[in-house]
């Protein structure tokens, strides 16, 4: 049942009440609530976020992806550096990567200059950072499983047998 709950939450496009989830699973609401509380407590469910297409608003927002090469620290590996980086609120996501670079940093700022300044003043000077490579996102087509400009409407006949 835990996996079912996670599956439902993971695919939900609108917020779901515990009652609704319980109905979808044919289970008791209290039982579902308890499991979800447990998952939140154990940080299996890390949080609930809303996916916004900022392009449709008047807020200026620039997203960039920065590839960092790092020299790992003795005894700490990449974790210590990573922590120093993810504590900045500008950092939207941070991943340790295999391949030609080590950390993938996703940054959001108001302008390209904003982002560039952040990289130049905060990331590049860090002790263990060997190099940075910044790319800007020009358009988001799909994020976190959701398509931003969906043109597939329900074109079914209203009634078919």
């Amino acid at each position: 049942m835990t996996n079912d709950i996670l599956n439902i939450l993971d695919n939900a496009k609108t917020p779901l009440s515990n009652e609704k989830i319980a109905n979808m699973l044919g289970k008791d609401e209290a039982e579902v609530a308890k499991i979800i509380k447990g998952l939140e407590k154990d940080n299996v469910i890390v949080g609930y976020k809303t996916l916004i297409n900022w392009e449709k608003t008047d807020r200026d927002l620039v997203t960039s992806i920065i590839e960092l090469r790092i020299s790992p620290q003795r005894g700490e590996g990449f974790d210590k550096v990573a922590e120093k980086i993810y504590k900045y609120p500008q950092v939207k996501s941070l991943f340790l990567m295999s391949g030609s670079y080590d950390l993938c940093v996703v940054i959001e700022g108001q302008s390209m200059k904003d982002v560039a300044l952040f990289v130049a003043s905060k990331l590049a000077p860090m002790d263990n950072v060997l190099s940075t490579s910044t790319s800007f996102v020009l358009k988001k087509y799909k994020d976190d499983g959701l398509v931003f400009y969906n043109n597939e409407e329900d074109t079914r006949q209203v009634i078919t047998l």
Partner: protein, 390 residues
């Protein structure tokens, strides 16, 4: 002036037009109505399947295929049937690829029914078996499946319906509109009745992949001794969300498939080529997509059944397909009155149960091939309606 009543055949004129035509027409004028009336998936065909169809067009695969369908597709169908259900069919002689399951049903009936032969049809059921039987000169003999029996066909009912003229039994399970299914042991009991007779079986298993109890689907041909008398109908519409591609198939003994192929050759030539290429991809690599959709239907199924029960309607727990079939007898209305008033007062479209045979009277068919939000809104409107008319 031509007198078309004299020109059209008596047989065709004898087929009743759909009794809910008027209802359809009203719904069509109400674009803001919420519909639970659709008999097809809300999912769009998985992208890899669509892409395979597009690729076949790019490669110029725009010609007829073999009459029975691309051999490559027939091989995939047989491999799929073997992998899923452990039954083997010969791709060269025991499979026919058709224009939807519907064509396969029509062909099978036309190939088996002589004038006066009786065809046993459990109702409520999908609407095509009766007219196809009549068009072939056969006589439909209906059996009413009951809510208290899980809308299953019981062996005793079958035994009582069999006469010297019985030629064919239709097994429409998992069932549209009831959601009823036949378990392996249910089918074994039916097989016991048929053993020793020459009665053929047309097992319409188009919803076979959409079953929500743990044991899954058993094709009738998997039952001991039944393969030689069974034509299994399946297709891509429901499980793979491919209704518009119009592609189905029949599996059966080679003399029968050979005859069906003969008729298919004269009427259709070959099924749509693009769809056939897309279907190969569907069978090869889309098990995960089917499972994802089945899981989603299952959530909605529980949600909608729960919703009907909470408003005080008795609602059979459907174990297959994507329909709920709540009983509205407690409101003292006919199915059509219920559907018409509901549409007028709350702008929700459902299908009156009697569209699927007289025994569907007192029920309404509500599809749950809709998003949870859509179902939730429809349920709240139906609930208000039921409350008002209690």
């Amino acid at each position: 002036m031509m007198d078309y009543e004299k020109i059209l055949t008596k047989t065709v004129q004898g087929i009743a037009p759909s009794g809910i035509r008027k209802f359809f027409d009203v719904v069509a004028t109400m674009p803001d109505a919420i519909s639970l009336g659709v008999g097809e998936p809300d999912f769009v065909t998985p992208w890899s399947i669509r892409e395979a169809g597009i690729y076949s067009l790019e490669k110029g695969r725009t010609h007829y295929t073999a009459n029975a369908g691309l051999l490559e597709l027939r091989e995939e169908i047989c491999a799929y049937t073997q992998r899923k259900y452990g039954i083997s069919y010969d791709p060269k002689s025991e499979v026919l690829v058709t224009v939807g399951g519907s064509e396969a049903i029509d062909l099978a009936i036309r190939c088996l029914i002589n004038a006066g032969d009786e065809v046993i049809i459990p109702e409520p059921c999908f609407v095509c078996y009766k007219p196809c039987t009549v068009m072939a000169g056969g006589v439909p003999v209906t059996i009413e499946t009951k809510e208290e029996d899980g809308f299953r066909l019981l062996p005793g009912q079958l035994k009582n319906a069999i006469t010297d003229k019985t030629k064919l039994l239709i097994l429409p399970f998992p069932n549209n509109p009831t959601g009823g299914i036949m378990s392996k042991s249910d089918l074994q009991a039916i097989a016991e009745v048929l053993k020793g007779t020459d009665i053929m079986v047309l097992s319409d298993e188009i919803y076979g992949e959409l079953i929500y109890d743990g044991d899954g689907h058993t094709p009738f041909s998997a039952i001991d001794g039944m393969r030689e008398r069974t034509i299994v109908i399946n297709g891509f519409s429901k499980a793979f969300a491919m209704t518009g591609w119009r592609l189905g198939y029949a599996l059966g003994p080679s003399p029968i498939i050979k005859s069906m192929t003969k008729v298919h050759q004269y009427c259709i030539m070959s099924s749509p080529t693009t769809s056939q290429f897309a279907a190969i991809e569907a069978l090869r690599s889309c098990d995960d997509d089917v499972e994802r959709m089945r899981q989603e239907y299952n959530y909605r199924r529980r949600f909608i059944v729960d919703g009907f029960r909470n408003m005080g309607l008795s609602c059979f727990e459907p174990l297959g397909a994507f329909y709920a079939f709540p009983c509205i007898k407690s409101l003292g209305m006919t199915s059509e009155d219920f559907a018409t008033s509901l549409l007028k007062e709350e702008k929700v479209a459902v299908v009156p149960g009697n569209a699927f045979g007289e025994s569907g009277e007192g029920f309404i068919r509500c599809s749950y091939a809709y998003s949870i939000d859509n179902i939730e809104e429809a349920l709240s409107r139906i609930s208000r309606f039921v409350e008002k008319h209690k």
